[in-house]
């Protein structure tokens, strides 16, 4: 079902289970209003996030990817977010040369209690992605998608 | 025998553009990295044919015209039914439309006969291949400028060989002398730009003779290779020494006009998916890796033994002597470490020779 123009974009959030997933839960429990574009994928730790998850998502047409985990020194597994920090910085260098706007990817740290920080992160990141609009599609697939829409309509 | 025709060199583009209206036309075009076969689209065929390159061998063969690098065999889709069961619909996706392949060299056209013996044989007719083969007219151009890695004359071919072609274009000073070889070929040549040229057949014959003389002489006649290569099967020391520098990457198989091995994989997205046939490569570890983890060809020496074995021994012994190599030399020119198949097969033949006399007097 192609995303309708301007209504909602596809943003994926890879969240570490111990802190950021808790933070997002706190924001939800606290009824902090947030845009609904972000779809959350829970992982044990940011150290488990393979930068290829993010490249695969962006190449498959995701418009934005957010990674969020425990603040440095708070990692449940002590060092997961330290490794992740280096990997995510290196990934930030790969996206632009591939032709993907680096603003479509962000990583940050949100602890389980920071419900309002999570609300700010989601609001600002979603606005940032809406500023960029939908991600560029591969030409061949774009025509296939167009045909799929046509097939669905006829 | 159909009459010999002639066409001006400058009119080729117009003829291809007109044919593009009824056929999908492929032709060798020069781009920034070399000469490759491209599809001419009807509207800007005129612009594309500016880059037409008929005097140089294309770096990639026209193999994907008959065996696409990736082809959908079947489309399938699951659907949930009210009663909770799942229905499954499977539809084959057959190739459509007529094709004109213009400008391959006789070696590339001859490669199609290598496919025919396997894909269109008694054992099992491949419907996708046979549909494409029947719909494709092959208009080859006599090869007047061989590369230094060419050796078609050492594997039973020639720069003016007609096997696998529907039409043969012979380049002469002002254009091409055109010999239709099949009905399909004749049909495509019914175009005002072609004029009668029976009187110029002599001229064409001279060009072909000169072309044959220009082919670099190979170290041996490889049509005698099947027995010696088979005899060398257990000589692992030989295969290890000739593949010491090989990277086992398989680029040679992707650029080889006669390599026809393929893989079948299902790729799905949710409830829908496709069964794909893609080019495969016997130099990769995964080619014969079994579910149990056993691999009968674990090292590059084992795999290269099969690559040489297949082309110069197994295939000829199955198909009464026909080698499955056409001597185009692309595996030599495209190899990152310049493995030279001529030298390797020749040294295999010599090594088997000097091995047999010993066995003889044992």
């Amino acid at each position: 079902m192609p995303v309708l123009e301007g209504k909602e974009l596809r943003i994926i959030g890879f969240l570490c289970n111990w802190c950021s997933y808790g933070g997002a839960d706190t924001a939800g429990v606290g009824r902090f209003a947030q845009p609904t574009d972000l779809r959350i994928v829970r992982l044990p730790c940011t150290g488990r996030i393979n930068p290829l998850f993010i490249v695969r998502a962006l190449l498959n047409g995701t418009d934005g990817v957010l990674v969020s985990g425990c603040h440095p020194r708070d990692c449940h597994y002590t060092a997961g977010n330290f490794y992740a920090r280096r990997r995510m910085e290196v990934l930030k260098a790969l996206l632009p040369v591939l032709g993907i706007d680096p603003l479509r990817f962000e990583y940050t740290w949100v602890s389980a209690s920071e419900g309002n920080r999570w609300q700010t992160v989601v609001r600002e990141f979603t606005a940032q992605i809406h500023g960029l609009g939908p991600a560029p599609a591969f030409a061949q697939e774009a025509s296939e998608q167009a045909q799929a829409v046509l097939k669905a309509v006829i | 025998m159909a009459t010999t025709l002639f066409i001006q060199r400058g009119d080729i583009a117009a003829w291809l553009a007109d044919t593009a209206a009824t056929h999908t036309v492929y032709a060798p075009l020069r781009d920034k990295t070399g000469v490759h076969f491209h599809r001419l689209c009807a509207q800007d065929a005129a612009a594309q044919t500016q880059a037409l390159e008929l005097d140089r061998q294309a770096q990639t063969p026209p193999k994907n015209v008959l065996l696409p690098a990736c082809e959908t065999l079947l489309e399938f889709s699951y659907a949930k039914q009210e009663d909770g069961s799942t229905s499954l619909d499977v539809q084959p996706v057959m190739p459509q439309g007529a094709v004109l392949l213009f400008g391959p060299r006789p070696c590339d056209a001859r490669a199609f006969t290598v496919f025919d013996r396997v894909y269109d044989a008694g054992r099992g007719k491949d419907p996708y291949y046979t549909a494409r083969r029947a719909a494709t007219v092959v208009a080859s151009v006599v090869c007047t400028r061989p590369e230094q890695s060419c050796f078609c004359t050492a594997v039973g071919g020639a720069p003016d060989d007609t096997e696998g072609s529907d039409i043969l274009f012979t380049p002469v000073q002002d254009g091409f002398i055109v010999r239709p070889l099949t009905q399909a070929g004749e049909a495509v040549l019914r175009h005002p730009l072609f004029t009668e040229a029976a009187h110029r057949e002599e001229e064409a014959a001279d060009v072909c003779a000169a072309a044959r003389a220009a082919v670099p002489c190979a170290p041996a006649d490889f049509t005698a290779a099947p027995e010696p290569v088979a005899a060398l099967f257990d000589d692992m020391e030989f295969w290890q020494s000739v593949t010491a520098k090989c990277l086992s990457c398989g680029a040679c198989t992707y650029l080889c006009p006669t390599c026809y091995c393929f893989n079948i994989t299902d790729e799905s997205n949710g409830l829908e998916g496709r069964r794909l046939r893609t080019w495969d490569n016997c130099m990769s570890f995964q080619f014969t890796l079994e579910g149990s983890g056993h691999n009968p060809r674990p090292t590059k020496a084992h795999r290269y033994r099969n690559r040489i074995g297949h082309k110069f021994s197994y295939y000829p012994r199955i198909h009464d002597g026909a080698l499955s190599c056409v001597g185009c030399g692309r595996c030599i020119s495209s190899c990152p470490v310049t493995m030279d198949i001529r030298r390797i097969v020749h040294s295999a033949m010599q090594r088997a020779q000097c091995a047999t006399p010993e066995q003889a007097h044992e």
Binding site: - | R123, D126, Y128, F233, Y260, C261, I264, D280
Partner: protein, 279 residues
């Protein structure tokens, strides 16, 4: 082009009638082709194989281990080793699969007529033997003495356990079961198949041995058969190779000039010895 007869890559659509859990790692699937006409005149010979399709995962080759004489369903036994076998093991009765069959050659059951037959199966290797054994039992008069030696690692690893009691009781067949490590009150033999075979000492006179199982078992079983006086032509086995097309085109399963999917998977040991040493 959309019928399996004229498109050799298009499977027959089939429905799983019944799934039998033979052992923790082996399940048996009884399937019927959806098209009744195709099911009724589906012809095959014992030993021929089929490619089962689980669309989305792919295809893999399994022997049709029900005999041609029993037409109610086609039976395939699958050991779980990889992606496709894993998906197959998750299917239930009523699910749809694809069947591309029959492929490959069959056991030389005509030449075996009038001879004594010695079956030696190891683990899932019993599947290819089962189709030939049941075919022979359904044409019992055509064959001489039938001996079955079936071994597995442990009793829990024995497939077709529901048929073993009948095979043991039949008076026109001599069955021996053995395991490497027995569970308590295991009444049958204990020991490796080749050793038990030598004890049974079957006579090679006018006899044919058919053996399937893991490569290590085959190697020592063939040695044992040679010690017992069986000639290479009297030993039949089946080969397992990675396969894709199943019709001798895709170039993957060759041993020298022989394509295991077409010229096999059934080979006599004499034929195997002539092939290049690349098993």
């Amino acid at each position: 082009m959309n019928s399996p007869q004229d498109n050799l890559y298009l499977p027959y659509m089939a429905t799983i009638q019944e799934v039998v859990t033979e052992t923790p790692a082996i399940k048996t699937f009884r399937v019927r082709l959806n098209d009744p006409a195709a099911m009724d005149n589906f012809q095959f010979e014992p030993g021929q194989v089929g490619q089962l399709s689980v669309f989305g995962a792919g295809e893999s080759t399994f022997v049709i281990n029900s005999p041609p004489t029993r037409k109610e369903y086609l039976q395939f036994s699958v050991m779980k080793v990889g992606e496709l076998t894993g998906k197959l093991h998750s299917l239930r009765a009523g699910d749809q699969i694809g069947v591309r069959a029959p492929l490959g050659n069959a056991f030389p059951y005509r030449q075996m007529q009038g001879k004594d037959i010695v079956f030696i199966g190891g683990g899932i290797g019993m599947a290819p033997l089962r189709t030939l054994l049941l075919y022979m039992l359904d044409n019992r008069g055509d064959y001489g003495k039938i001996t079955l030696l079936y071994g597995a690692r442990s009793p829990a690893d024995m497939a077709f356990s529901y048929e073993l009691p009948q095979w043991l009781e039949r008076d026109d067949m001599h069955t021996v079961l053995t395991v490497d490590n027995p569970a308590d009150e295991w009444p049958h033999r204990v020991g490796l198949i080749p050793n038990i075979l030598k004890e049974m000492n079957p006579s090679p006179q006018n006899a044919v041995a058919v053996t399937c199982g893991p490569p290590i078992m085959i190697k020592f079983t063939i040695q044992a058969l040679h010690e017992l006086g069986f000639a290479d032509e009297q030993i039949i086995t089946t080969l397992e190779k990675r396969m894709k097309c199943g019709v001798g085109i895709c170039g993957r399963c060759n041993i020298g000039t022989e394509y295991v999917c077409q010229d096999g998977p059934v080979f006599s040991y004499a034929q195997l010895k002539k092939l290049p040493n690349e098993l």
